[in-house]
């Protein structure tokens, strides 16, 4: 989806403002949202890309206007509603109006001790199509749905630097169309290929690109 979340190379957002001695959370509700996100994620009602896709589908003005954890809250509410786990009436009322039909097992204190990021690597159906050192061109893709190929790196020539294994394909996982594991590559681009003749010649940029994003150069 060509939305506001895809920010690489945009102009006009101004200076970066590092905060001295930044707290982990700026208000207690931020911590609760982060924890809710992890605890609901544990239920595996949708994929990590399903969560990202919901945030990306916020209207651009909402996306830019809301703080980080406010966006997480909105994405969480929308996905819970979409999957029928929570109704709009319940969000309005602030309490449960009916029990879930078959409640999944919630994350417990004991689970938190072993809290670990998911492993997204999967067995491969075929060997990787590309090898390190090969030249590739990213496709000129503009799906209406979730993708992890950023706009600034579409239809650009680069070089395969590393093969990172075969991973869950975000483009299908995000829309509930299955994991369809794909080979993942680090693809490196010259600054000139991405940003033209005026680009910083000392810069190279890499993305992590799934095989369906790539064609031989």
């Amino acid at each position: 989806m060509n939305s506001i979340h895809d920010m690489g190379g945009m102009h006009g957002f101004g200076q970066i403002e590092p905060e001295h001695d930044e707290p982990v959370f700026h208000a207690p509700w931020e911590g609760r949202v982060m924890a809710l996100y992890r605890a609901v994620g544990f239920l595996q009602l949708w994929s990590i890309d399903g969560a990202r896709a919901m945030i990306e589908s916020l209207p651009p003005a909402t996306y830019l206007g809301a703080s980080y954890y406010a966006k997480w809250l909105m994405g969480l509410e929308k996905n819970l509603e979409r999957t029928g786990m929570v109704s709009a009436g319940e969000l309005e009322a602030g309490r449960a109006l009916r029990p879930p039909e078959t409640p999944p097992r919630p994350m417990t204190v004991a689970d938190v001790a072993n809290l670990q990021r998911g492993d997204f690597e999967r067995p491969a159906a075929a060997p990787p199509r590309f090898k390190p050192g090969e030249r590739v061109r990213t496709l000129n893709l503009h799906p209406m749905t979730h993708t992890r190929l950023p706009r600034y790196a579409r239809d650009k020539e680069g070089r395969i630097e590393a093969v990172r294994g075969c991973h869950v394909f975000p483009d299908t996982a995000a829309i509930g169309a299955g994991e369809h594991p794909q080979w993942l590559y680090t693809v490196v681009f010259s600054s000139r290929a991405l940003w033209g003749a005026e680009a910083d010649p000392t810069l190279r940029v890499s993305i992590e690109a799934f095989e369906p994003y790539l064609a031989p150069a």
């Binding site: 690489g8 905060e19 982990v24 700026h26 999944p104 938190v112 670990q116 990021r117 950023p150």
Partner: protein
């Protein structure tokens, strides 16, 4: 509500949706009543990120890599395995990749699409890492970005920006500062800042 960090830039539209605290409390209540979350587990998650999982973990990894060449080789080959050999209270998940700064090349990590960040070794990302200015500019004008962090690299240093567009996660191993020969890992770790492991900073000099 303390949200000055979102307002400091003075841009319009950075206000929170009304009553966000109440909204979060409502969602937690609903999910708890439905048996979908356990508030004690939520407390524990918040506590883990406030007290246990943070950049000190990453700093210990870097300090060991500086001290132990065998560990450095392992770290660059498979950072998840190397990190887990250090016995942190919380395990490090798959696909951590360590990239090493050298006199020739400086590495910088960004996630232009969202906020991907190696939580388990650096904790939760700072607000600036998730902000539009950093996400938009890091891949295009990293020297200008670094200047805003007070970092000026030599003009011929190559800059490599890693855009975290998949579930791989990147940890920058900064260069060891001179004048630290014979230092213990513990002492070295004090020189390794969070920003130096993202690439927006350098390790502190003794």
């Amino acid at each position: 509500m303390d949200h000055d960090h979102e307002h400091r830039d003075g841009k319009p539209g950075h206000s929170e949706p009304g009553g966000i605290q109440a909204r979060v409390r409502a969602l937690e209540t609903i999910l708890t009543e439905k048996g979908l979350v356990d508030p004690r587990a939520l407390d524990r998650i918040v506590d883990a990120f406030e007290t246990k999982i943070g950049p000190r973990n990453g700093a210990r990894i870097v300090a060991r890599a500086w001290s132990d060449p065998e560990f450095e080789v392992r770290l660059l080959a498979d950072a998840t395995e190397a990190a887990n050999s250090m016995g942190f209270s919380s395990p490090v998940g798959a696909h951590l990749i360590a990239v090493e700064n050298t006199p020739e090349t400086h590495n910088l990590v960004v996630c232009t699409l969202c906020s991907c960040y190696p939580w388990e070794v650096l904790g939760l990302p700072p607000v600036w890492y998730k902000s539009a200015p950093y996400r938009s500019r890091a891949v295009m004008e990293p020297r200008a970005v670094l200047a805003e962090f007070g970092v000026a690299l030599p003009p011929d240093t190559q800059i490599r920006v890693w855009d975290s567009t998949a579930e791989t996660r990147f940890l920058v191993v900064p260069m060891r500062p001179p004048g630290t020969q014979g230092w213990s890992e513990e002492r070295l770790a004090d020189l390794v800042t969070r920003d130096s492991m993202i690439g927006t900073g350098l390790a502190k000099s003794p």
